[in-house]
């Protein structure tokens, strides 16, 4: 069964040209990526983008239509060679969105399941289950009936169960999406710490940007079954490749216009927006098309009462609306006939109608790759999977 490693020697999971179909519908693919040993990778995207499908294919819960999957160097699936190892013999572990805590067992038995399957001795089971429960701070609940736990507790037990038999790979299918916002923020940090402590390779699926940024070394943004962009969390945030990524990953102003090569200077690209304003941006090695789009994060725009005297990227603008959001204030300004959104922490509460100076550091104006017209599906706030679902939702 062992095949020579084909990718980097530290690749734990290799996904190659994977395609998953449900009947005639292609749910994902072709997608290819690798996850290094000990790396935390997140698949991020709106519902229906194929992220859960990809995860389930890695787990062995979906039978892909084409491609190959290798885990720890062993081929788990290869359509061309007719190999499809069932999930129970892939030796990985998974935390499900619904937690899937078995209601007819105690917390201890839930966590011990993977060890019992592997015929571990009683002493080993006891020691490993206690260790796993302590990791998630559920040690006191071992004898509890699983059906008596709250949502957050079930979530912890699900994590303990997934780690108890020391799998090399952990898969997470939106494990936090059914928790309330505050608990979600807490668990995010805890899960991240746990992953670091265990040093386990993990693939995490979510539609929540903050979760993705907090949980992962690397993010793969998916859309319509394909990989839109892959890279370290900061790169995805700072240098979105397409309008879709810019918009899905945090809030951004997308500014389109005509390329003005005649005005280019200092390695910057100049763009004439529809209203006539000239915006300078950093191409980041990308070649601009004739009608490029630039993305500017709402937090990267700055408002000043007075002009800084900068030669480029500064304009007097009129404030249309200022909305107090607590941690931030969201300001809408009129910029050459179109609206730009600025989020700032500034103490100055701008009055509506006021004229102020807007400036943008060209380094934060990211030139997007030319592509199809922008059509962003809204990211759902909360995905609730129906209990009766017979087909996977993605």
């Amino acid at each position: 069964m062992t095949t020579p490693r084909t990718d980097s020697p530290t690749a734990e999971i290799e996904v190659e040209d994977l395609v998953v179909r449900y009947g005639a519908v292609t749910a994902a693919g072709p997608v290819s990526f690798t996850v290094r040993q000990g790396e935390q990778l997140t698949l991020l995207g709106p519902s229906g983008c194929g992220k859960t499908t990809t995860l389930r294919a890695i787990a062995g819960l979906e039978r892909p239509a084409a491609g190959a999957i290798r885990i720890g160097g062993e081929t788990m699936y290869d359509e061309a060679r007719g190999i499809h190892i069932p999930a129970e013999r892939r030796g990985l572990s998974m935390v499900f969105q619904s937690y899937a805590i078995w209601p007819h067992m105690t917390v201890f038995e839930n966590v011990a399941y993977g060890l019992r399957v592997r015929n571990a001795g009683a002493a080993e089971i006891d020691q490993k289950v206690r260790h796993a429960l302590d990791l998630v701070k559920m040690g006191a609940y071992a004898t509890r009936n699983a059906s008596q736990l709250s949502g957050g507790q079930q979530q912890r037990v699900a994590v303990a169960r997934a780690c108890a038999f020391s799998p090399k790979v952990l898969l997470f299918d939106e494990p936090l999406s059914n928790l309330d916002a505050k608990l979600r923020a807490e668990m995010r940090i805890e899960l991240r710490e746990l992953q670091h402590r265990l040093g386990v390779t993990s693939v995490y699926v979510t539609h929540d940007l903050e979760e993705a940024l907090a949980m992962s070394d690397r993010i793969i943004v998916m859309r319509g079954g394909h990989i839109e962009q892959a890279g370290p969390a900061a790169d995805i945030y700072n240098y979105p490749r397409t309008a879709f990524v810019a918009d899905f990953v945090g809030s951004a102003n997308l500014i389109s216009g005509r390329l003005r090569p005649d005005l280019a200077r200092d390695g910057l690209v100049a763009l004439e927006a529809d209203g006539g304003n000239i915006l300078y941006g950093d191409p980041h090695g990308r070649t601009p098309g004739p009608e490029p789009t630039m993305s500017v994060r709402t937090v990267h725009l700055q408002l000043r009462a007075r002009s800084s005297g900068a030669a480029i990227n500064e304009w007097p603008v009129q404030i249309r609306r200022a909305i107090f959001l607590g941690d931030l204030t969201q300001v809408h300004v009129d910029w050459g006939g179109r609206e730009l959104v600025i989020r700032q922490t500034a103490a100055m509460p701008p009055a509506e109608g006021m004229i102020v100076y807007l400036s943008i550091d060209p380094a934060h104006c990211v030139l997007l790759e030319p592509g199809e017209a922008l059509q962003v599906e809204p990211a759902p706030q909360q995905e609730v999977r129906p209990v009766l679902a017979n087909l996977p939702t993605e």
């Binding site: 069932p86 499900f96 619904s98 078995w102 399941y113 993977g114 399957v117 209990v387």
Partner: protein, 572 residues
């Protein structure tokens, strides 16, 4: 199966092959049980060759065209079925509306009582109503003549009488189906109508009725199909007066001498073609429900305050339960302790001889214990078989599991009598001699109750989050291990419910048993029907009551045992 194995491309492994082998065995068994008799039924129906030569020497439609002579039977069947369906729907709709949408008193008690008519079989009802409404000896008519009336006030042996008895029993089924629709309706839909200014009756006519219409239509089709295939009421009430419907005519053709088997087969195939079409229609009606009334949210349907009228509504529900349960049972008890059943009690007519005779009859004693043993075995094997099938249909990735579902649900569309006819024919030709033994009864029960078991267990499987099982798989558990530690324990309630349903249905089975039991393999319900035709109706009443009490005791015992087991049984 081997092609399915090849298609999944799984290298040979112990866990997978155990699953594949189990699934292959179950599917092969079900295919054999269901399709083999159907094949022989069809063969017999189109057999126009030399009589008693098998395989047939010629095929044709002669048997079907010969049915034209029996048009009267078709007309009878249609009259009985339409009348019974209409009455059952009226009972079902009225009681469902009263119990879900009004503030009727004792609503919960009434709702529980509404299930009881289902357990009082149409056979029991027919025997009882025969005592009440027979034109000469019926209690009602005796009293009628006693107070100076002339002739018969009621005649239960007519088409309307048979339809009445069938409707009393089936009304409870219609109630469950229509009640479910009414319960699942979001009250906001009605409130929205009232908010925009529509009155209560206008809301009812323009919103409520159109919303429940598909559900009622579905129930109507389902009940109609059931009535078409029903047998016992027409057998007890119609046959003595030479009033035949299709099912009793088939029985007559098969059991008379000489039997007219090709004609019976053609009649059976025609009946099952119509029922199949009806049930297909039913599936279409209930599947394409464009009216999404079930939103998954929990809500209590709004109830109307009926004022004093609510006591009238209470009386309607109580009357239904009285006519379908209390009156028949009381009548049978009363008749069974009389030498000759008459309306007015007298001391010298009182006797326990009927019970003494019933218990002393060897046929009854062996038939009763045979029925119980068969019921136990059928239920136990049945839940294993239907549990596997339900899992395969709901959860496996097996190609062609949709076809499997159709095969499993097939017996639903075939009246049990017709199915038994096909089996009789099929297993006579089978190289292993099982005809006339318990084995053929066991196979018949397992086959005809496939839909019952699969539907019951599927209902529970569908409510289980799929990831409960997937999680076990990812944890490394093989299929067999998951089955033992996760699937079976979680399905326990469904399995127990299915066990009880199959047990009760088997013990009381008539249509299939009456054709398939042999002289050494008597079972209870056909023995009761035979006693009705060959001995006194008072003795028959005693026998029917003995069976009812034994089944009730078995149900109570089962409930007690499983409740105790579930209290003690903690841990894997």
């Amino acid at each position: 199966m081997s092609s399915a194995l090849a298609r999944t491309g799984v290298p040979p492994g112990r866990a997978v092959s155990a699953q594949m082998v189990s699934m292959a065995v179950v599917i092969a068994v079900v295919g054999l049980f269901v399709l083999y008799p159907v094949f022989y039924l069809l063969q017999a129906a189109f057999d126009v060759g030399a009589p008693n030569v098998r395989p047939p020497t010629a095929y044709g439609l002669d048997n079907f065209s010969a049915l034209g002579k029996y048009w009267e039977i078709m007309v009878n069947t249609l009259i009985v079925t339409f009348a019974a369906t209409f009455m059952a729907l009226v009972f079902g709709f009225l009681t469902a509306w009263i119990l879900t949408r009004t503030n009727v008193p004792f609503q919960r008690t009434l709702e529980q009582l509404m299930a009881v008519p289902y357990y009082v079989t149409p056979l029991l009802g027919a025997l009882a109503w025969n005592f009440l409404g027979a034109p000469e000896s019926g209690f009602i008519n005796q009293v009628w003549r006693g107070i100076g009336g002339d002739g018969a006030l009621v005649d239960i042996t007519t088409a309307m009488g048979i339809a009445w008895v069938m409707a009393l029993f089936e009304g409870s089924v219609a109630f469950v189906m229509i009640g479910a629709v009414m319960k699942s309706m979001d009250p906001a839909l009605e409130e929205a109508s009232q908010v925009v200014g529509a009155g209560r009756w206008r809301t009812m006519l323009r919103v409520t009725l159109p919303l429940v219409a598909p559900g009622v239509l579905g129930a109507a089709i389902f009940v109609f199909a059931e009535m078409l295939g029903s047998f016992s009421a027409a057998l007890v009430l119609g046959t003595p007066a030479r009033f035949y419907v299709i099912t009793t005519a088939i029985y007559q053709f098969v059991s008379q001498y000489p039997p007219r088997l090709p004609l019976a087969a053609a009649l059976g195939v025609s009946l099952f073609a119509v029922m199949f079409a009806m049930l297909y229609l039913y599936r279409r009606v209930t599947a394409n429900r464009s009216f999404v009334t079930i939103s998954g949210k929990a809500f209590r349907p709004r109830t109307m305050d009926m004022g004093r009228l609510r006591w009238l509504l209470f009386a309607i529900c109580a009357a239904y339960v009285f006519l379908s349960v209390a009156l028949p049972i009381a009548t049978l008890v009363y008749a069974s302790v009389q030498k000759l059943a008459v309306a007015l009690p007298s001391a010298d007519n009182f006797t326990f001889d009927n019970y003494r005779t019933a218990f002393s009859l060897n046929a009854v004693r062996s038939a009763l214990s045979n029925s119980l043993v068969l019921g136990l075995v059928t239920a136990t094997v049945g839940v294993a078989l239907t549990g596997m099938l339900a899992w395969i249909i709901q959860r496996s990735r097996l190609p062609g599991r949709g076809v499997l579902e159709y095969i499993v649900m097939f017996p639903q569309a075939v009246p049990r009598l017709v199915f038994a006819f096909g089996m009789m024919w099929a297993w006579l030709a089978f190289p292993v001699p099982i005809y006339g033994t318990f084995w053929i009864l066991l196979i018949a029960y397992l086959t005809v109750f496939l839909p019952l078991g699969v539907r019951t267990i599927s209902g529970v499987i569908m409510q289980l989050d799929k990831s409960l099982e997937e999680c076990g798989q990812v944890c490394g558990a093989s299929w067999g291990y998951r089955l033992r530690t996760i699937i079976a324990p979680l399905l326990r309630p469904g399995i127990l419910a299915a066990w009880l349903l199959i047990f009760v249905a088997s013990v009381r089975e008539l249509g299939a048993s009456i054709l398939l039991m042999g002289p050494d393999s008597k079972v209870m319900t056909p023995a009761i029907a035979e006693a009705f035709f060959s001995t006194s109706s008072e003795l028959t009443a005693a026998m029917a009551l003995i069976q009812t009490v034994v089944v009730a005791i078995a149900m109570v015992l089962f409930t007690l045992i499983t409740r105790k087991a579930s209290r003690v049984g903690v841990g894997p």
